[in-house]
Structure formats: structure tokens, C-alpha cells
Symmetry: D3
Subunit: 76 residues, 6 copies
């Protein structure tokens, strides 16, 4: 009876989502012996204006920076 | 103080959502003695392209199948 | 394929949890025509030390108050 | 490694969301000594047709009431 | 920045959980090009007294049935 | 009506949790004009055996490493 929620920043294609659903189901079936029919997975594609990391929205972090402000992101 | 999250595959009408909110609130009030004003419920209508079960997207599972492939879905 | 998550402040008995599962499943079957076998429900019993409302932990809000401090709770 | 999910009834501006992400990250860094780069926050703006409280959808609760039906909302 | 929540009915060993975390991270990195360091995964092991499916708690569904009541579970 | 879920790796003291609840409530009240009484917050303290990042359980990542294996963690 596993239920899986996956929140992504940004969008994914239908093919990518299908592949992730297949991969995660296979993992739970293989590792835990779960019945594949009972595995439910929801993928939420979250706008970068609604996803924060490091104290700021991803939409702001990814925004073009003014010249002279070309600092490297220490997380990447 | 209960908080309830309901994820549905596909859409529901406003009337359906209102009825579910009323039903679930009544259950928590009746079964647990909770204050109805404190019961919060969120209903998420998830696209069948973002909801997987049995290892595939519901959108793919529900897709028309080629002739000669009319197998019954064992889960239904 | 609905998935329902219910977070409660404090504990519930097994009988209460069984009744809530039955009630919520019936609601989704009746209102939306869902297959009952596909309805998954998780009930999380959250300690009042981990549940906040009105800006404070429920465990602190429910604590005995010193005499002379018998203010009414403005939220109720 | 904290992960924070915030569900709001209704919309927020990008500036409001950026401010909330900054506030919540600061709280977790200050109170728990977490690495700010590891704090992930998702803000979900939920339609009032999908958010229930007090047994009804917020969209219905906020609806204009017919004259002669000007009851006070006991929750406020 | 993906965040993944996995709710299991019952327990898993540490080795099983480590394998699932590795599998799911690999899927998101391979399918979406995500940075593995940014993938966060939480596994919740839910008691069968707190997990419902088909309208009843799993703990009740799995309970020994009285003789003469040996119906097959249509979901399996 | 905001509902906030916070998942932490490891434990927090009651005082830390009370401070986080106060901080987050203040943020939502200040930034969005929400009624503080309607802000619900749940803090989940997740075992490092149930929290993965970078493809492994935090419990494994934090484990003492054999001498000669003193690699720096590239994520920090």
C-alpha cells in the first residue's frame, strides 16, 4: 500500500513522468515485495515561483543577475 | 485541529467537493469530538498525467488500446 | 485512486480510526463513484508538542494556567 | 534537511511568497542551526473551491448571503 | 530540488530504506537531470492500525478470520 | 487557513518547536494578513534512518568513516 508524493521544481514531460512512475514502482516491488497494483504515486510540478531553497524562491535565484554581480552559487 | 489532505485522480465538481468536505468534517466531529471550526480540508484534483498506479500513469492506463489487446484490467 | 492523509492532534483509539476510515471511504465512493478498493487513507496521530495553532504548541496552550490568569481563549 | 510545505487558501504575490520563504528559512537556521542551503519550501496556493473549513468550502462560506440571512459567522 | 515522501504500511529494514533512497534518487537524476545532492526523501513507516484501504484498517483486514468466512480478498 | 507541515531530520526540543511555531505564524500573519488562530502547523521529527539526501540515508552519511576515507562532503 505505498503512497508516494514527488514534488518537482518546474515541469516534466509525460514521458519523464511515466518513467519515474515505473522506476519508483519497480523499486518498491523489488525492495519490499509490495503488490505493484497497490503502489500509488502523485507527481506535483511546482512553479519555481512557489519553490524556495536557500532562503529564496528558485525563480529569483535563477533570475539573470546584474553585471558585476556574477557570483557563483555555492550550492551548485 | 485535524488537517485532511485528499488527492483525487481527475476533477470533481464544486458540489462534489462541498459534499466531501461536509462528510469528512462530520466524521471527525462525530468520531473524535473535534470542533468542526478547527477541521481544515484540502482537496487536490490531480491530472491523470501526474497520477500513477500499478507502475504507469493513469492517463496511459486509460488510453484506448489497440484492437486485439482488449485485456481486462485485473484491478477493476 | 484517492489518497487521504489525516493529521490529528493527539491519539485516537483503533475503533475510532476504523470508523473514520469507513466513513471517509464511503464518502468518496458515494460522492465520486470511486472504487473502494482504491481508496487509501493514512491517519497520523501527532503529539500536542508537535502541533501548533494560534502561534503556540497545543501542549502549551492546554497547560494549566496560574490562578488569576483565567482568561477566556479568544479563539473559541 | 528540513522540508516545509505551506498550503494557503487563495493566492499570494511573488513578493509575499519570497518573504515567507526568507522568514521560514531564517527561523529554521536560527532555531535549529540548519544549513540554509538545505531548507526546501513549497507554497501551494489552493483555490477556495478546494479548501474546506468548518464543514464547508471557503468559496461557499465567503459567498454573498441573501438578505435576511445576515447571521454572524460563529468562527470569527 | 525534488522532495519525495513515501508512506509504507508496516516497517522496513534500514537496508531496504537505503536501497529505496538510492533507487529513487537515481531515477530522478537519470530521468530529469536533477542534482543528486538536492534530492530529499522521507520514508514514513505507518502502522497497519493507521493505514486504511478498501474501507477498513489494514490491521483489521489482515486479522485472522473465523472459519467458514474464508472469502478471497478481491483486491489480491 | 494556512496549513504548514515541517519535516526535520532528527529531533528538536519543545522550546525549539514552540519558537518555530511562533516564527512561522508571525510570518504568515504579517506577510498575508492571515488570522493567527487559523494557522495550523505540524512538525515531524524524522529519524535519520528514514531521511535520505544525496542518494543515501542521513544515518549512513553521518556514520563514522574508516580512516583513510576522510573525504570532504561535497554538499557542505
Amino acid at each position: 500500500m505505498p503512497f508516494v508524493s514527488i514534488r518537482l521544481a518546474g515541469a516534466a514531460t509525460r514521458e519523464q513522468k511515466a518513467a519515474i512512475v515505473a522506476d519508483v514502482t519497480t523499486s518498491l516491488v523489488t525492495r519490499l515485495g509490495k503488490n505493484p497494483a497497490a503502489v500509488q504515486i502523485v507527481i506535483e510540478e511546482v512553479s519555481t515561483e512557489n519553490y524556495g531553497a536557500g532562503g529564496q524562491l528558485l525563480a529569483d535565484r535563477d533570475a539573470p543577475v546584474a553585471k558585476g554581480d556574477a557570483h557563483a552559487d555555492p550550492r551548485q
